[in-house]
Symmetry: C2
Subunit: 108 residues, 2 copies
DNA sequence: TTTAGTATATAATCTATTTATATACATAAT
DNA sequence: ATTATGTATATAAATAGATTATATACTAAA
């Protein structure tokens, strides 16, 4: 993480939900995807993503199943639920507000 | 705080530095200022701002002196240092990157 | 057979923020 | 008078999301 790790805090779940909106995926793939999409700046740690998955499953935002893991290590896939889609919409809307307000507070 | 308190985490010091860039100020005034400038959405708690001041003073970003507190409770004023100004510039630059990247990661 | 890459998982630790609590002065309302 | 409200600072304890450290396991290339 080239940014302070506090920077992603509060956004990790939103970013995961946005990726799962497109298609089911698994931890390792999501981590690589975030690394690419963030121009190599956000490298989420294993422990961070797996504990986030655990929280989100308990909260009913995602559900999980084992993939076959053909030709490599086994994969645990995650799928977004209807509740997850609703929460994503709320978090996106919240982000649009935060973005405007933080820009006003931080820029000269 | 109408936003999750995790949202401001990592930005509190930047916001304080930006306000001190204009003029010396004190905790209560800065809190009210942030509340106004954030459209009533960010209500930083006393403990948060005073512990942030403590950290920033230790890090040499700000220095402090007592105001006279005429006609009310005593005020502890804070002034930004040269190091504080340098750190603000770095944090602003970092924010511009974060803003772009988080928009790419969160928006549909 | 050793290294690197893929893949998941948990315990212990870190740290910025919150909650709770305390102090103290000024002013307006009851 | 005294109660409530606003101004103003401060610290201890709790919270919670992130990191570090560690463990397991399979595949493929050197």
């Amino acid at each position: 993480m080239t940014f302070s790790s506090d920077i992603l805090r509060g956004h990790t779940e939103t970013v995961i939900l946005k990726i799962l909106l497109e298609k089911d995926s698994y931890g390792y793939e999501i981590t690589k995807r975030i690394l690419e999409d963030s121009e190599g700046r956000i490298d989420i740690k294993d422990a961070t993503i797996y504990t986030a998955f655990r929280r989100m499953e308990i909260d009913g935002l995602i559900c999980t199943y084992w993939g076959d893991g053909a030709g490599g290590a086994r994969r645990r896939y995650y799928s977004i639920t209807d509740k997850g889609r609703r929460v994503y919409t709320e978090k996106l809307s919240e982000w649009l507000d935060i973005d405007r307000i933080l820009n006003a507070l931080i820029r000269k």
